[in-house]
Symmetry: C2
Subunit: 192 residues, 2 copies
Amino acid sequence: MRLMEEKILAEGKVLPGDILKVGSFFNQQIDVELLRAVGEEITRLYRDCGVSKILTIEASGIAMAAAVGLSMGVPMVFAKKQRTSNVDGDVISTVVHSYTHDTDYNAVVSRDYLKKGDRVLIVDDFLARGCALRGLMELVKKAGAEIVGAAIGIEKGFQGGGDELRAKGIRIEALAIIDDMSGDRITFRRQN
Amino acid sequence: MRLMEEKILAEGKVLPGDILKVGSFFNQQIDVELLRAVGEEITRLYRDCGVSKILTIEASGIAMAAAVGLSMGVPMVFAKKQRTSNVDGDVISTVVHSYTHDTDYNAVVSRDYLKKGDRVLIVDDFLARGCALRGLMELVKKAGAEIVGAAIGIEKGFQGGGDELRAKGIRIEALAIIDDMSGDRITFRRQN
């Protein structure tokens, strides 16, 4: 999506350690015109797919997931991150590794909010190695629900997580895919 | 707002310890038609107030803040919760007590996203004793910005935090104020 790429070029900051900071417009402070356009574009990409639920994980995916839910008119639910391994019986949980914080956490969602028969679109602001996305996919499978695909704000294509999952047949749409940001400029993957 | 009160009566669950569970429609799974109505109602209540920024705190306030931002057309920003006391110099932070978890945390926001000249509407899903709201007000003051008021999804009026702040002259609009939920039924405060 051209608007997302333009915002990344204008306001994104590349920091050492393959970090792209987009907190000024996408995941701490949020430009609501961009957010609205993101919701509409994802609705367009997944129209006629029978999506019945949006699933994301706290915290920075929530605003994007809300915008997608508002645009599609389907409920959204977010998984919580819990450090403790004590999760009670009414929830579905899975362990996710965070490279950013070099730690593991439990992604947890109530069984009441993710059920057999749901057709789930997973939404997240970032996709890098794909740990969070794989965790959310695991939650959907454990719930007996169906994964329609994933919608990502910004994919760090050079870290490979998205392409690994695409190779397994998972539909992943990313509004901007960065193939290189190691030098002076950011190179986006060309998409149709 | 009648729709919010109806949803609370239909789907809310009162649990021991003055807990009201609304996870099925408002703060874990989110009914997007309610969310859209919430955004529009808050926009109506704070129209002509010159709001330039929405401020909330992760995680459960984010969806509501995004809906308000989308409806008003102003950027939203969320404060992060940090357990550590190490916060670097580019941020504004304050300590907030959580009665729910009986612990203190730091509410932290970048200085880049909350500035002198901003007219800030604070948004949160719940208001009980008012600890989170006072913390967010403190962040606005430390930034040198101005507080226009607060917009709350559900206020537990019987816990007093909202009325204490109203008595100090802070404008607080809550879409549903529960004055009693100790017995068999939930009693809402009548509002104009």
